[in-house]
């Protein structure tokens, strides 16, 4: 009798809990991803053809992109569409909640679209199946060729509603596309959507290009190029294709990054065997020297409030990470662990610094607090480096190289991503080998 009572109470408790809004715990690695049903969007029969777009398949294709985004987070488990129990148009009006619960879905995404007069109109709804109610609904009108971006924007809205965090799907990744043998690599700047679609090559591969980085406030890019065999930092507008050398330095400039307001570039300038950190204001062209030390000071990265710069220096003998005020004062070493440290990158949330660590012939990507405490190594490999944050500070993208044989065979360079929890390591699909990724901010912000 007592036992029955306990079970009964437990049931009430669970029942109550299941009536609460869906919550996803994103503070830990997710071993129990939320089952979500993403219904194909209903295509209105009044839809007209548009420039070779397969209108009939558009509803399926949009839902496929959303599904793919959600699977990629590791936080969600998009259910197989064969199990779906309701037609898209009917489900979008009002789902039969008990039927969807039967296939173990906890959230449902429905939608419909209409292509008419050269415009694409998409609306979607997110349903909480346990609470049997609508959580959010939105409609967009745009040009039909924008259908992929619309899919990403919908994904971001759903992600935000379910996790309480900003999404990162309507974003792009700029990187260096690599081809050719290891000792004669051809490198080009390339850009793609975060899910690997829409790859475009921005340079032809005539000169070596390295380390492209997005301006966090717009679609400008800074990178390093060996154009005319003069290694310099460049600025590139990816909308217009115009580019220019940054500053007038009598030697190599490298390791560029934007300040958080996008108005300055911080970088290294090497002269007579010594690399120091400089900034240049893009409007006034004023150059400031930030470090003045006989060691190598490089890989600078601003804190998101612009007040500090993290960088790596070998002033102690080997590479370690340091933090200073953005005017160069108050330099403080923050890494003291076993091994050497490079490529500090400040999280857009401001609370963590991502880094590359080298120890006993292995390379690690890790995160730590901005004072160097709380180091967590996320992934270990033969060679990997150059983490870049997703705009919401939840995921890191980096590149990994494989060991090669005596003639360079077996060599590859690929982009990978990992959650800051250390879970959900994934390879980003790229058309070619790839390195030096940089994640853009949200395009629609």
């Amino acid at each position: 009798m007592k036992k029955i009572l306990i079970i009964f109470l437990l049931n009430i408790f669970l029942f109550n809990k299941s009536h609460a809004l869906i919550e996803i715990d994103i503070t830990r690695g997710n071993l129990d991803p939320l089952p979500i049903a993403i219904s194909p969007l209903h295509v209105d029969i009044k839809s007209e053809n548009f420039e070779g777009l397969k209108i009939k398949e558009l509803g399926d294709n949009i839902s496929y992109i959303i599904e793919n985004n959600f699977r990629g987070t590791g936080l969600f488990n998009p259910l197989k569409k064969e199990a779906f129990v309701q037609k898209p148009d009917i489900a979008h009006l009002k789902p039969r909640f008990e039927d969807w619960r039967l296939i173990k879905a906890q959230a449902l995404v429905t939608g419909k679209l209409l292509v008419k007069d050269g415009k694409l109109k998409v609306e979607f709804r997110l349903w909480d199946l346990a609470a049997a109610k609508e959580m959010t609904a939105l409609a967009f009108t745009t040009t039909p060729s924008n259908w992929r971006r619309v899919s990403h924007i919908i994904s971001d809205k759903i992600y935000e509603r379910l996790t309480g965090e900003e999404g990162y799907f309507d974003t792009r990744v700029i990187y260096v596309a690599e081809s050719g043998p290891k000792n004669q690599r051809i490198k080009k700047l390339a850009i793609m959507d975060q899910d690997g679609a829409n790859t475009k090559y921005l340079t032809l591969g005539n000169e070596l290009v390295l380390t492209p980085r997005f301006n966090p406030t717009n679609q400008m890019v800074t990178y390093m190029s060996y154009f005319r065999n003069m290694p310099r930092v460049y600025l590139l507008d990816i909308e217009t294709g115009t580019q220019e050398v940054v500053g007038n330095f009598p030697g190599m400039t490298f390791a560029p990054r934007f300040s958080p307001d996008g108005k300055k570039i911080v970088m290294s300038f090497a002269k007579e065997g010594n690399s120091d950190i400089y900034t240049m204001d893009l409007e006034s062209r004023v150059v400031e020297r930030i470090t003045d030390h006989s060691s190598i000071d490089t890989s600078p990265s601003f804190s998101p409030d612009g007040k500090f710069i993290a960088f790596n220096s070998d002033r102690s003998g080997l590479q370690q990470i340091y933090v200073m005020r953005s005017d160069g004062s108050g330099v403080k070493r923050i890494t003291f662990g076993n091994g050497i440290y490079g490529t500090p990158v400040w999280s857009p949330r401001g609370d963590l610094i991502a880094f590359t660590k080298m120890r006993k012939g292995k390379f690690y990507i890790g995160v730590m607090r901005t004072d160097g405490t709380g180091e967590r190594l996320l992934t270990e490999n033969f060679y990997q480096e150059a983490p870049s944050w997703s705009p919401n500070g939840r995921v890191l993208v980096f590149y990994r190289e494989t060991k090669s044989g005596s003639r360079g065979e077996g060599f590859s360079a690929k982009l990978w991503s990992i959650d800051i929890t250390g879970y959900n390591e994934r390879r980003l699909k790229t058309e070619t080998d790839a390195s030096d990724p940089s994640w853009s901010s949200l395009l629609s912000k």
Partner: protein, 158 residues
């Protein structure tokens, strides 16, 4: 007394040599001595008997005794060929982060340039460029290949 002191010195020298040779046999494997490549493979020549490159230890840009001998040969050659200008290319192995390696290559190339300048070659005749880890001469992922890739190479420009 004098004899005694001499003997003591000789013994010390012998003892030191023994320790050193023990050290070098311990660290020496093939053509790598204490992490620095000492072989001839991959080496090209500016002229007969004038090697074009010197090698470095991991993360280091200091010149070894052998490197200084090579650079003195280059300096002699450049003094004889007064109209010749050179570029020194600095390189690193693949076992470091890209940006640090760019700086390290630059530091290595300048170490070689500075040495040539102390032997009377005008700095105006020597430009430097760093390629970091971008241009390995040996593409293998082995300690031998890495030691061959940690180098500065003097290249004729005219």
């Amino acid at each position: 007394m004098m004899f005694n002191k001499n003997l003591k010195n000789i013994l010390l020298v012998i003892f030191a040599t023994l320790i050193l040779s023990a050290c070098s046999t311990a660290k020496k494997s093939g053509n790598i001595d204490g992490d620095v490549y000492t072989g001839k493979e991959t080496v090209e020549y500016l002229a007969s008997g004038v090697p074009d490159r010197v090698f470095f230890a991991t993360n280091k840009s200091s010149l070894t005794t052998a490197s200084r001998a090579t650079l003195r040969k280059q300096a002699t050659y450049l003094r004889k060929n007064k109209n010749l200008n050179v570029t020194i290319e600095g390189h690193a192995d693949e076992r470091g982060t890209r940006e640090y390696n760019l700086a390290l290559g630059e530091r290595r190339a300048n170490a070689a340039r500075d040495y040539l300048m102390t032997y009377g070659i005008s700095g105006k005749r020597i430009s430097v460029i760093s390629y970091g880890k971008e241009k390995p001469v040996n593409p293998a992922s082995t300690p031998l290949a890495w030691s061959q890739n940690r180098r500065s190479v003097t290249v004729k420009v005219n």
